[in-house]
Symmetry: C2
Subunit: 336 residues, 2 copies
């Protein structure tokens, strides 16, 4: 059963659900990055033997879910929900993966915050008694995202230094009521924050205030300080956004700089020429479920606050002159 | 606390959450239909004083949520979640409404099944102890949907008789742990069902098997028969899909024909020349939260099974030769 005080944005789970297995699949560029040894499968190209990038993305998500379920040892027919979403219009990666998985499906959308939304909702469903086992997943694909949100890749457009690279990959986690580490102990649901940014080539700047808002709310609601965490990690603010988060928090008297990093900074090396860093739903997903999950199992980290950020714009909203609404959801992962 | 047997798709709520207030806004065509007296606001045009149809849609959703909250008597700052989604790419109606509402936001996507997904998830969040009050909402708009999914309206394309008209409207409901009728007593989460249909101008045929699958699962899991309900109503199958549901269920020995109808049939009159009937996220939303909610308050209906259906395609998936994956989520509404 949950404990949540009215007015708070944070749920503290009284029986913290466990992440009993994870899987991560990445594309060829991420497979040359510093975290390459943590991923379960590295694709040799962008197509994954499919005819289109969108179908390749769907296949990554489907196979990541299957892989996580297999690792969990839970028979597939005992997985009660597939909670998933992605960046493509009408979340077709998730919907078509759900078609092939045959698991009752709850579609979600939080742009690049989707993994945290999914982990938080998944934990609520397990802790609330609605499922003993469920799988959460998300995906993104550099090529399908570029052509949907920006330009056809064939144009070879130049990108400004503030731009980020959409991570090609998929991550999935099986959440269960089993007593096993690591656990999901808190979920802080974000509000939509929009500081008036309009540049879709600078998502880090747009999303940083949402991350700050959610981190501050999480610390207030949980009565915790940054020192209670071994690591605070945002989803995909990359180099530009990460600096803004540190500065805005310092202005509020909160210093997280000695234990703070960003998934979009970790996934690529500076030599990879990806501009500001990584982004996309898969960025927080594969870094959290590939790298951080394994380091928690080893005991290197015991308390992590994952703050996945999402820019909730569309090409239509940009064309109609709207600014970029952003959100950040936080989940605390702990070895108890 | 919930009661759910492993392997079932159905949750039975032990403390069934209440729908304490609803609001519905519709466009001018729906405002001439047979249910017009049940809606809170009928727009005189498609623009709602906004510059674009997309902004009008967002405004409908935002105002429906505000109206439902006001009717509930709950102070706005005590509403703990806004659970919402819509048909537009990246669910911008919901995200931009969330920006203006300032309520912690969980974005969902289930195409035209979104209202049932939201009511079910909302009920889980309340019953699970994560919120005392939350608001669920969804919207659709004929003009924004046509230009996103089909053709620019300016072309004046002819539509086949199997086509449905996307309902212009928005519906919202405040769900609470208060002891008050009507309640949400069951949620059956759908699987994605795809029988190989490819015609995006005949959604009823595509979605009917998903509705059948969920109705059968609901009756099995809950150990109920159709006679346990005063009314079984699908979301937006309209005339073509409704007949298929009746026939497919009869083949399985289940006769619901004396207590079955469809939101897409009720919202327009045959004289309105809308072809097969209504569709869109708002179809199930305004019929359920406008018409059915009020008839339940009057006691005309005491047990309704709402089975909202969604076609999870996108223009990209259609262009890439994919068939149409469909889903249906069911929620039981009861006066206890």
């Amino acid at each position: 059963m949950a404990l949540k005080k009215l007015g708070n944005q944070t749920v503290k789970f009284q029986n913290p659900p466990s992440i009993i297995a994870t899987a991560s699949i990445v594309g060829p560029v991420e497979g040359q990055g510093p975290l390459k040894d943590y991923f379960d499968l590295i694709l040799s190209d962008f197509n994954f033997q499919e005819k289109t990038w969108e179908k390749a993305e769907k296949r990554m998500l489907k196979e990541a879910a299957e892989m996580a379920i297999k690792k969990s040892g839970v028979p597939g027919n005992q997985i009660e929900y597939f909670v998933a979403g992605d960046l493509l219009n009408q979340i077709i990666s998730a919907s078509f993966a759900a078609r092939e998985l045959g698991i009752p499906f709850l579609g979600i959308y939080g742009a690049c915050s989707t993994m945290a939304e999914g982990l938080g909702l998944g934990a609520m469903l397990v802790d609330g008694g609605y499922a003993d086992y469920l799988v959460v997943g998300t995906s993104s694909h550099f090529c399908s995202a570029e052509r949907q949100y920006r330009f056809p890749l064939e144009l070879g457009n130049q990108r400004p230094p503030t731009a980020q690279r959409t991570v090609t990959g998929a991550g999935a986690a099986v959440i269960s009521s089993k007593n096993q580490n690591p656990r999901i102990t808190y979920m802080t649901t974000g509000k939509v924050i929009d500081m008036g940014e309009v540049n879709p080539n600078d998502m880090g700047t747009a999303m940083a205030p949402a991350a700050v808002d959610t981190i501050v709310k999480h610390l207030e609601d949980s009565n915790r300080s940054p020192e209670d965490y071994d690591l605070i990690i945002t989803g995909d603010l990359a180099s530009v956004g990460k600096d803004i988060v540190e500065r805005l928090l310092k202005e509020k008297g909160i210093d997280i700089s000695d234990r703070y990093t960003d998934c979009g900074l970790l996934i690529y090396s500076p030599q990879q020429d990806v501009h500001a860093g990584g982004s996309g739903c898969a960025c927080a997903a594969v870094v959290t479920l590939g790298y951080l999950f394994k380091e928690m199992q080893k005991g290197r980290y015991n308390r992590i606050l994952v703050v996945a950020t999402g820019a909730l714009l569309s090409t239509t909203s940009v064309q109609q002159g709207e600014t970029i609404p952003c959100i950040a959801h936080a989940v605390a992962l702990e070895n108890l």
